[in-house]
């Protein structure tokens, strides 16, 4: 079968700390069929043009998680990203290492922080001697219980979500989407006896640092939807502990605050989240905001159409009808 090929231009990030003072981009141009996976193209470059290009790869079928990298600025698996659509959209293919992880060389990044966050959530069943495993047979599990895992068992730990996450970039204390999706997987496991403890611990340990931007869900090649599971964890955490953490108080305060007048009363929200001491701590920043935005001092009027807002809240309070 002979197939039409396209001229594909690759601009590939190169950096060898032993030789290069700064990263550079090297251009390679190949004729390839448009459905060629990026990984196949990179291996062709290695075999035929430049054997010194360093990258991680193994299964080439989106199951080992080795070849995550940035393809035209998106964190993707190189093995399942075809060159055709990339060329059609951007005219060339820029290949860079994943973000939020130090570059060891070329496209190979240091993944120790990623794995450390994974270890930190205690990714194993926590057992209670009072509830021993059934002797010689499996734990029964209903179909509904299996469905609670959602898509989290599909995670291949490729770190594309970790690369795409702005919260990881802003704050190393944030465990990252993969670790939290993994935490969710253990929290909903009926065999696990550590649910409450897990939910209590994760709150001061970074759960509320998620920005809800959903870039992790967009980046995930296996449709694990980490941001949705983080949302579930937050709800479960509030249910277990009530709004006693900064993050949960902020979320609960936000909800009550809007219920009042249909629009945010920011002065009140700071009080709800941080208490009076917190207000004093944030005073310098607050004064700065007041100088720029004087109207923040006035309590907002109730908005028109409050009946619609009330309907939303009624729906929210009926858990079985939650969207």
């Amino acid at each position: 079968m002979t197939e039409a090929t396209v001229k594909a231009t690759f601009d590939i990030y190169r950096f060898d700390p032993g030789h290069d003072r700064a990263p550079r981009y090297q251009r390679y141009t190949l004729d390839l069929p448009p459905h060629t996976p990026v990984l196949t193209a990179l291996l062709k470059i290695r075999a035929e043009v430049d054997p010194s290009l360093a990258l991680r790869y193994s299964c080439r079928s989106a199951i080992c998680g080795s070849c995550a990298m940035q393809v035209n600025s998106k964190s993707r698996l190189a093995c399942e990203t075809q060159i055709g659509p990339e060329l059609a959209r951007d005219g060339r293919i820029v290949i860079e290492p994943m973000r939020n992880q130090a570059v060891l060389r070329d496209l190979v990044v240091e993944q120790e922080p990623f794995w450390r966050n994974y270890d930190r959530i205690r990714p194993h069943l926590i057992l209670d001697p009072r509830h021993p495993m059934p002797e010689g047979r499996e734990n029964p599990m209903t179909t509904e219980e299996v469905e609670q895992f959602k898509e989290t068992p599909r995670c291949i730990a490729c770190a594309a979500c970790f690369s795409a996450c702005p919260a990881v970039e802003a704050d190393p204390a944030f465990p990252g989407p993969m670790a939290l999706a993994k935490l969710y997987r253990f929290v909903v496991d009926p065999r696990d006896q550590g649910h409450q403890d897990r939910l209590m611990r994760i709150q001061p340990d970074g759960l509320w640092l998620c920005l809800r931007c959903h870039l992790c869900t967009e980046a995930c090649p296996k449709d694990v939807r980490p941001s949705e599971r983080i949302r579930d964890l937050k709800e479960m955490a509030v249910a277990v502990q009530g709004g006693t953490e900064h993050g949960s108080k902020h979320a609960v305060g936000f909800k009550d605050n809007i219920r009042d007048r249909g629009v945010l009363n920011e002065m009140k929200l700071v009080r709800q989240t941080s208490g009076l001491v917190g207000v004093l701590e944030q005073l310098p920043q607050g004064l700065h905001i007041v100088r720029k935005k004087r109207e923040i001092l006035r309590a907002p009027h109730r908005i028109e159409g409050m009946d619609e807002v009330e309907k939303i809240y009624e729906a929210l309070d009926r858990p079985e009808e939650k969207p």
Binding site: R46, P51, S61, C64, R105, E138
Partner: protein, 557 residues
């Protein structure tokens, strides 16, 4: 100087299970892996793991199916042990946290698989390997051991018939390091990349098998190479046997369900060697689709079943072949999938070298004989991984400390370092591509004397050229060019052993099909091939097959 009681090389399911067993026996254990353990090829296994736990099923039937599937080359004592361990092994993995698919009554769901008398393949959708790998790795996180992540094995240190440790390349720093060990467990998986058209990962290059062979270990039954019937036409990406287990059917270019001619009783659920030969025969006789393939049809199963039980392969077909299995047939053709052969071991994983053990696809016990049944390989990794780890620990507890001579490291690594200082010579990827083309053409599903001899001539010529292999990349850090050179050398050695064994075996048994000797010849060939490295290449001898209860019969499916 790094030293441990037990060093496990390879961190897929077999290696991890071996490490766990050795830790539980009280040993100081290190795991050496060229990939992060979660990137191991065990995670690519799709269909499931066999255990005769259903009320209507029995361990004896599992044993019989495995013996018959092996075309009577499997050792029946080991197969009995293997099948008896199946139930407890699966339960243990469930207790470790594996998320299996469930039947409506909450028990482990089971699906039919090729060559099996009952539905006994327990699964986690179509990502069973991934589910087991995650659970075992996460469980292993609760015990203490040393992980050498992204270290590649380059040599076994063997002196006076006893293992003393290994030499490995730390891929991040580009340094060769010796690790002393009282016992070593090789669980480095297969060498499917000897072939170009393979379902195996790029990293399946037989590092441990070749290092063992170089060090004097006996390899067993290397000519038995399994070709999986259904790999995607263009990319050879695996489409699980579970697709047929769930009711998928095969059709040729004339719309015929051709398996009725080859396996009238069980059709698509015959064993893999039978189905693969059927597909190749259809194509050779002109009944394939233009381009040379057949169709795997799932459409009649309905969207819901396909998307829930065959979720990953649905994604694979969509993203790698642009095919939606819900509405279209999938173009498939066989591809190399599994190596029945490997490092010869007993049922405890012991080799002919003291202190050297092996388990998983790197090893050959043999339970798969001439053809492995689907669902038996995941089970093999866990059952024999545990045994090998425990046996290595027991040996280590009474063995003298290893003797590692630090001064020798320079001499050992000199030839490897020479690859990088050459100014001429060939890139390993050139040699690898020619080897793969040679093996596909001359040692594929159907073999004959002339082809095998020609294949051998070509592989030996490549081995000659390999003496002048050149590593262009001068960097210390993550030098893929350098690991490529090691892997290519390993695979050339193993390709030669496959060819020599296949040439010598003048019969057809299981996956080894000689068109010039189309019948199984029990009088002459009911024996294991043993290959040991000699000055002129592999030297063959033969070993008897162990029998217990099952007399050889003609295999009909």
């Amino acid at each position: 100087m790094l030293k441990h009681d037990v060093v496990v090389v390879g961190a897929g399911l077999a290696g991890q299970r071996a490490a766990l067993a050795a830790v539980e026996a009280g040993c100081d254990v290190a795991v050496v892996s060229k990939l992060h353990p979660l990137r191991s090829h065990s995670g690519a296994a799709q269909g499931g793991i066999n255990a005769a736990v259903g009320k209507e099923d029995s361990v004896d039937t599992h044993i019989y199916d495995t013996v018959k599937g092996s075309d009577y080359l499997g050792d029946q004592d080991s197969i009995e042990l293997f099948c008896r361990e199946a139930g407890p092994t699966v339960v243990e993995m469930e207790h470790f946290g594996t998320i299996f698919s469930r039947a409506p009554d909450g028990t482990l769901a089971r699906r039919p698989f090729g060559g099996a008398g009952f539905p006994r393949t327990i699964y986690a959708a179509d990502r069973t390997g991934l589910a087991l790998l995650q659970a075992l790795w996460e469980h292993l996180g609760t015990v203490h051991f040393q992980l050498y992540e992204e270290w590649a094995l380059t040599q076994l240190v063997v002196r006076d018939g006893r293992v003393h440790g290994i030499v490995a390349l730390d891929r991040r720093r580009g340094e060769f390091v010796q690790i002393g060990a009282k016992a070593v467990v090789l669980a480095t998986g297969p060498f499917g990349r000897v072939y170009g058209r393979t379902t195996n990962a790029h990293s399946c290059t037989g590092d441990g098998v070749a290092a063992a062979y170089t060090a004097g270990a006996a390899l067993k039954d290397m000519e038995f190479v399994q070709f999986h019937p259904t790999a995607l036409m263009e990319t050879a990406i695996l489409i699980t046997e579970g697709a047929r287990g769930e009711g998928g059917i095969l059709k040729n270019g004339q719309g015929e369900r051709f398996m009725s001619r080859y396996a009238p009783h069980v059709l698509e659920l015959a064993s893999r060697d039978v189905v693969s030969r059927a597909i190749v025969t259809e194509v050779l006789e002109g009944r394939g689709f233009p381009g040379g393939y057949v169709h795997l049809e799932l459409m009649h199963l309905g969207k819901e079943k396909i998307e829930s039980r065959l979720q990953e392969i649905c994604d694979f077909a969509r993203s790698f072949a642009g095919i939606d299995p819900v509405t279209e047939p999938i173009p498939v053709y066989p591809a190399q999938h599994y190596m029945m052969g490997g490092i010869g071991t007993d049922a405890q994983g012991a080799t002919n070298i003291r202190g050297l053990y092996s388990a998983g696809e790197a090893a050959c016990v043999s339970i798969h004989g001439a053809n492995r049944l689907g669902g038996n390989s995941l089970l093999e990794t866990l059952v024999f991984g545990k045994f090998a780890g425990a046996a290595a620990a027991a040996y280590a507890s009474s063995a003298a400390p290893p003797e590692i001579r630090e001064a020798e490291l320079d001499g050992v690594t000199a030839p490897w370092r020479a690859w990088s200082s050459r100014t001429d010579g060939e890139d390993p990827s050139t040699l690898r591509a020619e080897m793969q083309a040679t093996m596909g053409r001359y040692a594929g599903i159907y073999r004959n004397e002339a082809d095998l001899l020609e294949g051998l001539r070509r592989i030996r010529a490549l081995k000659e050229r390999y003496r002048n292999v050149r590593v262009v990349d001068q960097s210390k850090v993550y030098n893929v060019n350098l690991t490529d050179a090691f892997e290519t050398g390993y695979m050339l050695d193993l390709a030669e052993v496959i060819l020599v064994g296949a040439y010598a075996r003048t019969e057809s048994r299981g996956a080894h099909s000689r068109t010039d000797y189309p019948k199984r010849d029990d009088a002459k060939w009911m024996k294991h091939t043993i290959a040991v490295r000699g000055a002129e290449g592999p030297q063959l001898s033969y070993a008897p097959v162990a029998y217990t209860r099952w007399e050889p019969k003609e295999r009909v499916y």
